[in-house]
Structure formats: structure tokens, C-alpha cells
């Protein structure tokens, strides 16, 4: 084997373990790690949205990007590239976030919710798989956002630089930022622990290329289970962690930070699945690639921030009460726009 499964499985086990135990250490229940939620919290922290319960500069996200950045510098894999359909990437990143917030979590949180017995996440998983399957069909039909050539190295320092700047400001002048006093945004693991967990996950994910969307995509498209082993490892470690911590309750109702609207759980993660395949990776993978100097993924990251702002400013996000009409319209519009973009790319690629 050129690529050993060992590293991706170890990475998955550590991500799952941290996902369970970060809850014990202070993060919201079933949200030890959630890339979409945490990017949304940061968007709130800097005031892109004013949903008072989800505002915090999550150190985990800082760690994901910096862990990947530092390790890739060390291993020589820091190779800034970009210029592949930047506007579409930004836009699809925003749609990906809108879908994730309709479900209330990125695919990583979906796995953690599954491992805590939240059966709504099973519906989400089916939608996610459906979206990935559809995205795979587009790849087979010739979908490609085009090559991203190597860029002058300076390009790759923008996102890691912004992240470092954000963290320094947050540590030395936390009063600059919005900060939840109640709700999920107020539930936090201690700063250094959260940052350390983020750095570890960022570095391991950089080395192992762990990707929740790639896991199913590779299984469907090229019958390659490598990344899927990593996802299984996340699930198993989180399941064991949750059982140890007594945070397992099987069922649909009364699950923490979740709703029982099956259709919108399905379609919300369906939108995440399709956009993740079109973009070449799940939200976590986009942050890792941003750290490696990939400016295309950097734009997806910024698109996710914008999507979080739009989602909460216009009431598009799900809540334990379900997904309100504006959110339903946004998810449907997002699916239609994703299909239209994929179709447009395929048609014009052929001309």
C-alpha cells in the first residue's frame, strides 16, 4: 500500500475522542468539534451576524488552520496555489454553510451526533450520502472547476496570517469581539486546551488528508475505502467516549442542539454533500487546505463565514424548533443553484 490506512484511522480515533471529551471540558453537547458551528461562532464573534447565542472566537478553528499551516511548512507541503473558479468557490462555500446550519452541524458533527444516539443524524447522513452521490455523477459527466496553478508563496500566508492576527487580538483584547453569555456560544473548553486540540487535529488531518465528504465520495466513485476507515474511526472513538461519559441517548426527540424536521435534516446535509464534492472537500478539509496555502480553499472558508452571516442575519438557520420557512427556501434555492452551477460548468467545459 502506498498510503497506509493506519494514519487516517489514528487521526479519526483522535478526532472522535476529542469530539466526545471536549464536551466534558466545556464545549456544547454533541458539539465537541463542529467545523461549521465553530466558523459560525467566529463569524458571530467578529459581528458578521448578531445571533447572541452563537458568538465566540473558537480556538479550535484557529488550531485547525495553524496546525495544518505549521506542519505543511515543516514537511515542505506548504505550496500556495489557487485561481480555480474563485467566485464559484466562495459562493458554494456560502451555500455549504447554509446547508450545514439548516441541519445544525457539519458532517463531522453529524458523526458525533450519530455517536451520541441522535437518530436525526441518520436522516442527515442519508441526505449527505445522496448529495455526494449526485456530486459524483457530475464529476463523471465532466464537472471540473479547473486547475489551480502554483502561486507566488505570498498568497498562501493571507489566511494563516489572518487567523494568527485574529487569535492575537482575541487573547490580548477580547473586548473587541462579541461573546455569548448564554447558549452554545457560551459553552467553551478552556482556551489552551481548545487551541491544543485544534492544532493536533489540524496537523493530523493535514498529514492524513482526512475528509468526511471524500470518505463517501471515494467509496462511491472509485471504490476506495481508505478515507472511510477514518470516518468509521471517528464514529467508534466518539461512541466509546460518549458511553464512558454517559452522553448517549438513542432517539429522535430532545437531542441537544438538533431538530426533528426529517426533510430539512435530509436536504440540509444534502446541500452540504453536493457542495463538498463540487469543492473537493468537506468543511474541515477546506480549513486544512487553507492552512497549506490553498487560496481556493481559503475562499471557500471566507464564503463559509459569509454564509454564516447571511444564515443568521436572515433567520435561515435551524433551531431546536425546526427549520423556519426562510431557511427552507434557502436550502431549496441552494440546491437549485448548486445544480445550475454544476450543469453550467459541465456544459461550458465541453464547448
Amino acid at each position: 500500500m502506498v498510503i497506509s490506512n493506519r494514519l487516517v484511522i489514528i487521526t479519526g480515533l483522535i478526532v472522535g475522542f476529542l469530539g466526545a471529551f471536549l464536551v466534558l471540558w466545556g464545549n456544547p453537547v454533541n458539539m465537541g468539534i463542529c467545523v461549521a458551528c465553530f466558523v459560525r461562532d467566529i463569524a458571530g464573534g467578529i459581528g458578521f451576524h448578531r445571533a447572541e447565542v452563537v458568538q465566540y472566537i473558537r480556538p479550535e478553528v484557529i488550531g485547525f488552520v495553524l496546525g495544518a499551516f505549521l506542519l505543511s511548512i515543516f514537511t515542505g507541503e506548504f505550496k500556495p496555489r489557487g485561481g480555480s473558479a474563485p467566485m464559484i468557490r466562495f459562493f458554494l462555500g456560502a451555500l455549504m454553510m447554509i446547508g450545514a446550519l439548516a441541519f445544525l452541524g457539519c458532517p463531522l458533527r453529524m458523526i458525533l451526533r450519530l455517536a451520541a444516539g441522535d437518530l436525526n443524524a441518520v436522516i442527515g447522513l442519508l441526505g449527505f450520502a445522496g448529495g455526494i452521490w449526485a456530486g459524483g455523477k457530475f464529476l463523471k459527466m465532466g464537472f471540473s472547476l479547473g486547475p489551480s496553478p502554483a502561486l507566488n508563496k505570498t498568497n498562501g500566508f493571507i489566511i494563516p496570517g489572518l487567523i494568527i492576527g485574529l487569535f492575537i487580538l482575541f487573547v490580548f483584547s477580547p473586548g473587541l469581539f462579541f461573546s455569548s453569555t448564554s447558549g452554545p456560544g457560551s459553552l467553551r473548553a478552556p482556551l489552551l486546551l481548545a487551541l491544543g486540540a485544534g492544532l493536533l487535529v489540524g496537523a493530523l488531518a493535514q498529514r492524513s488528508r482526512l475528509c468526511t465528504a471524500g470518505a463517501l465520495r471515494d467509496l462511491f466513485l472509485i471504490r476506495n475505502p481508505h478515507l472511510f476507515y477514518g470516518v468509521l474511526a471517528i464514529f467508534l472513538a466518539a461512541l466509546i467516549g460518549n458511553l464512558i461519559l454517559g452522553n448517549f441517548s438513542l432517539g429522535f426527540s430532545d437531542q441537544p442542539v438538533a431538530h426533528t424536521d426529517a426533510l430539512w435534516n435530509f436536504l440540509g446535509l444534502g446541500l452540504v454533500g453536493i457542495t463538498a464534492v463540487l469543492l473537493g472537500g468537506c468543511p474541515l478539509r477546506q480549513l486544512i487546505l487553507s492552512g497549506e496555502g490553498n487560496t481556493d480553499s481559503g475562499l471557500v472558508f471566507l464564503g463559509m463565514m459569509a454564509g454564516a452571516g447571511v444564515s443568521h442575519n436572515f433567520g435561515l438557520a435551524g433551531s431546536p424548533a425546526g427549520l423556519a420557512l426562510p431557511g427552507q427556501i434557502a436550502v431549496i434555492a441552494g440546491l437549485i443553484l448548486s445544480l445550475a452551477i454544476a450543469g453550467g460548468i459541465i456544459i461550458f467545459n465541453k464547448k
Binding site: M1, V2, I3, E77, K79, R81, S84, L139, K140, S144, L145, G146, P147, S148, P149, A150, R209, C211, G214, R217, D218, L221, I222, R223, N224, H226, G280, G281, D296
Partner: protein, 72 residues
């Protein structure tokens, strides 16, 4: 056998490995050459070749990797 080289430089996951595999599965030719410029794409193609039971060889060309896949 064609000497066509698939240029997958700069393409993101999973396009390089997907293109290489499609070419091997769909074409009548027994050999496919593919040019990539990232460690990830190179590893993915070589790994996939083992799963699909193709023989592979790799040659470094500056910053790029030229991979040749052959049916066993």
C-alpha cells in the same frame, strides 16, 4: 497504445485519480500516463492503482510527477 499524457496538474481531489482511473477503465489502451504536481494526487493515484490491480511506475520531472499505469 497511445502516448497521450493526461495533464492533471493543478487539479484538486479527486480529479487526478478519477481521470486516471476512467482512462484505464474506459479505453482500450493498456497504458495511461498522467502528469500531476502534488504529493496528494501522486499518492492517491499510486494507491488506487494497487486497489485496481494496475502496475504503476513514477518518474519525477522537476516539480511534477509522471505516473504510468499499466494493466497487469
Amino acid at each position: 497504445m497511445s502516448e497521450n499524457i493526461i495533464d492533471a496538474r493543478g487539479l484538486s481531489c479527486p480529479e487526478p485519480v478519477f481521470k486516471a482511473r476512467q482512462a484505464m477503465l474506459n479505453k482500450t489502451n493498456s497504458q495511461v500516463k498522467i502528469l500531476v504536481d502534488s504529493e496528494v494526487a501522486k499518492d492517491n493515484i499510486l494507491n488506487q492503482a494497487e486497489i485496481d490491480n494496475f502496475s504503476s511506475s513514477m518518474e519525477k520531472q522537476g516539480e511534477d510527477y509522471l505516473i504510468t499505469l499499466q494493466r497487469r
